[in-house]
């Protein structure tokens, strides 16, 4: 039994206290098996429990160094980003008031306004909203920039998003059957996810999901799919809970749509420059651009080739060190310029973000070399690449994994046909996705 000297024994021995609070464990941790259940190699099999504990300590130290040095510079950074975004939004919306005005055959205010609004919405959702709601800025004790108070320019109400994202996805990252972000329930992005006929068409689902991303995230956070599948078995209390949440989503979408598609176009109509319709299309395009961009960034976080998934049983009694290990192996970065990092909300530093989701995003870049060094020292793959490479990898996977896995002695065509026949007969047409 090993206990950290600074930790009172009561913390480690008390039953029920989350094992992920500490890099050490009261019970000895098992050695990782050579192979995962699926038969694929386990990327951390070469590490002993002691080495994983040591990795945990090293990461705790990296975190402490940054968290202890948070200060005025960091506060000034987020305030500057918020200020820039709000001025950009106001400027773009002002330009759109005249979006109908034609100069030499083009509508310059439409182009300027649409571009500005797209960038503004991306900044608002990613570098600001996502990160504020992670509690990255709670330490400032500014009630206006606080995870408990923030609402974002997105269809999904922040409370529901915080639950599905911060709690489920960040705790159970890439655990098959626990982390629904792994393909969002509509994509098969890992060979260890069970194939069903539904996935045969996943390139279509994927493109539709990207275009509608804000709404699919709202439906996903609401757990709409799960509700529809299970509604006959739910208790009255669960149904009431769902109805309350659904009501909240509907209200949010109504407010969002009224703003973008009614009130701002109406304001533009008041300039008598024929700008109402163009303001509406500008908002539509800006929302689409934001949807596709955020989807693009997010699929690069966990789906590119080389990123690992984990089985449910592998996380039982997981320590903080083992959780860190899973975050490192289950995330991938995007290499790029400083501007690109900001536009991704620093989710281009996905590995660093998943290790320390409450660390201010402007600090990920400085710890990235340390994390990379730590992983390479321990023979762990630090997945990173250009945006084009990572996106290309995911799109290829979406196509490749729409088909069943190659198994010796079985033709893939036969597997598909068998599933199709079964579906036509009405047996498990939807199939189980995990």
């Amino acid at each position: 039994m090993t206990l950290a000297p600074e930790r009172p024994t009561t913390a480690a021995t008390r039953t029920g206290v989350n094992s992920r609070l500490s890099v050490t464990s009261a019970e000895p941790r098992p050695q990782r098996p050579e192979l995962k259940k699926s038969g694929r190699p386990n990327p951390a099999a070469h590490l002993t429990p002691e080495q994983i504990e040591e990795i945990g300590r090293e990461l705790d130290a990296i975190r402490a160094e940054v968290m202890d040095s948070r200060g005025a510079k960091d506060a000034a950074y987020i305030r500057k980003v918020i200020k820039t975004q709000r001025y950009l939004e106001m400027g773009s919306r002002a330009a759109l008031l005249f979006s109908g005005v034609k100069v030499k055959g083009v509508r310059p205010f439409w182009w300027i306004g649409t571009a500005g609004l797209s960038v503004s919405k991306i900044l608002e959702n990613m570098e600001i909203g996502h990160n504020v709601m992670h509690g990255q800025w709670d330490w400032m004790r500014d009630p206006k920039i606080h995870s408990t108070a923030w609402e974002w320019d997105n269809a999904s109400p922040s409370s529901q998003w915080k639950h599905s994202h911060n709690e489920i996805h960040h705790t159970f990252t890439n655990v098959l059957g626990r982390d629904n972000d792994l393909g969002y329930g509509i994509l098969r992005v890992d060979e260890d996810q069970k194939w069903t006929l539904f996935y045969l068409f996943q390139p279509i689902w994927h493109v539709a999901n990207a275009l509608m991303f804000e709404y699919s995230i709202a439906a996903y956070d609401l757990e709409l799919g799960g509700y529809l599948a299970k509604r006959k078995r739910l208790s009255d209390k669960e149904k009431a809970e769902f109805r309350k949440n659904a009501q909240e989503v509907v209200e949010k979408i109504k407010r969002q749509a009224t703003k973008d598609y009614v009130v701002h176009p109406a304001m533009a109509a008041a300039t008598f420059t024929g700008s109402a319709r163009h303001t509406l299309t500008a908002n539509l395009v800006a929302n689409l651009v934001r949807n596709v961009w955020t989807n693009t960034v997010i699929i690069c976080g966990h789906f590119p080739p080389g990123i690992e998934t984990f089985e449910k049983t592998s996380i039982e009694g997981e320590t903080r060190g083992e959780w860190y290990l899973r975050q490192m192996l289950g995330s991938g970065n995007i290499a790029g310029s400083k501007a690109m990092h900001v536009m991704t909300g620093n989710l281009s530093h996905q590995i660093e973000h998943h290790l320390f989701p409450d660390m201010p995003s402007n600090r990920y870049a400085e710890i990235a070399p340390k994390i990379r060094d730590l992983m390479e020292r321990h023979d762990l793959k630090y997945v990173t690449g250009s945006l084009a490479k990572q996106v290309g990898g995911v799109y290829w996977k979406v196509v490749e994994l729409s088909l069943p896995n190659k198994v010796e002695g079985k033709r893939r065509r036969d597997v598909i046909l068998k599933a199709a026949k079964k579906a036509i007969k009405g047996k498990g047409g939807q199939g189980r996705r995990y």
Binding site: R70, G71, A72, R141, N166, T258, K259
Partner: protein, 373 residues
């Protein structure tokens, strides 16, 4: 939504004509719809944080040293500033190293100045994070959060004929505000002004000038020469103190002594004191955790997350990842101190901070705590 839009109902009793109120209400609704999910003030605050209708803020316009460890901070308050009665204090929220801290300071400016500026005069106390920052590091131009003035350590509307002020250290700050505003109307003022030494005496020149002009009778007590003021000497220093309405402000020892002294003379109702409470919560190991609204009290050890302690006691606690990453368990700590189980870091409240949000899943009691839940 349309069902609730009945302007006559909404404006009844406001004194505004119904059509005007209806227009204003409509404009507000449109502004709200334009700004959602934010509110219009989020945008307006960028342009003018001091506008009327905004949360009360102020901009520091000057920092003027008084003594070696005190300075007068001149602040342009927002247009929502409602004024004050001399002797009252304000709460000021200032960002230090990126973190907002709230403290209370007496207002030291004259009540009815034409420029509308207000002043506080903090004294840097050892280890005082905010007072040291204000006195030594604050730059003009800094935006601060403010609360409206409050406090009942003030002169009554009908001024008493004879007044006694006893001030010690920065305890002079509310009294200097009263003197600046009301000295012209006060006929007979005696002030005993205590300080550790002559150099440390705040507003000494100003008080001496009044004394020389014969407008107040001033007795200075510098501890390094005269020792700490003993109220037993009051009969010698101010023989008619019993006839005077008295205002006393300074350290707790002085206030306790004054209360006892006036009580013993049967004159407790003539004494007014202002207490600046100490603001430090001493962290301990474990402690009694009170869940205010649930009316539940548990004894939690220093290794148990408050989340677990609360749940075990049947409190309905918000929770999430239970490992400190999702912020789903954040609740307000109203009073006390907690320790981060991962890092050992202490988070504590003070009487000016209001509640402090904490993550209950990684926070253990570090002494008695009260949770607003």
């Amino acid at each position: 939504m349309t069902a609730t839009l009945n302007p006559t109902d909404r404006t009844r009793g406001t004194g505004r004509s119904a059509p005007l109120a209806g227009v204003l209400d409509g404009a507000r609704k449109v502004a709200q719809a334009l700004a959602t999910p934010l509110v219009p003030s989020d945008y307006l605050d960028l342009i003018d944080p001091l506008r009327s209708g905004a949360d009360l803020r102020g901009r520091i316009v000057a920092v003027t040293p008084e003594t070696a460890d005190s300075a007068t901070i001149t602040i342009q308050p927002g247009r929502g500033w409602a004024g004050h009665v001399p002797g009252q204090y304000i709460r000021i929220g200032i960002d230090i190293d990126g973190v907002r801290h709230w403290r209370a300071y007496s207002l030291t400016h004259r009540a009815d100045t034409a420029d509308g500026l207000i002043t506080i005069t903090p004294k840097a106390i050892p280890d005082g994070k905010v007072s040291n920052h204000l006195v030594r590091s604050t730059k003009p131009g800094t935006l601060v959060m403010l609360d409206q003035a409050t406090g009942d350590f003030t002169l009554p509307a009908t001024l008493p004929d004879k007044v006694l002020f006893i001030t010690a250290g920065s305890g002079v700050t509310p009294v200097i505000g009263m003197l600046r505003s009301s000295l012209d109307d006060l006929d007979d003022v005696v002030q005993i002004h205590c300080a550790p030494s002559e150099r440390d005496a705040m507003f000494r020149d100003e008080l001496l000038a009044h004394s020389v002009a014969g407008r107040i009778r001033l007795h200075e007590n510098h501890d390094d020469v005269a020792g700490v003021l003993d109220l037993a000497d009051l009969d010698d220093l101010v023989p008619d103190w019993r006839e005077r309405e008295a205002w006393v402000c300074g350290p707790t020892g002085l206030l306790d002594a004054a209360e006892a002294h006036w009580e013993a003379a049967g004159l407790a109702d003539r004494l007014h004191v202002e207490r600046f409470r100490p603001s430090v919560v001493e962290p301990g190991e474990g402690g009694v955790v009170t869940f205010d609204r649930s009316a539940v009290t548990v004894d939690a050890d220093g290794g148990t997350p408050i989340l677990d302690a609360g749940e075990d006691a049947g409190v309905l606690m918000p929770s999430g990842c239970r490992m400190g990453i999702c912020f789903g368990c954040v609740v307000p700590l109203r009073e006390g101190a907690v320790r981060d189980l991962r890092t050992g870091e202490i988070t504590s409240t003070d009487e000016n901070s209001g509640t402090v949000p904490i993550q209950t899943c990684v926070s253990a009691a570090a002494g008695a705590c009260a949770i607003d839940l």
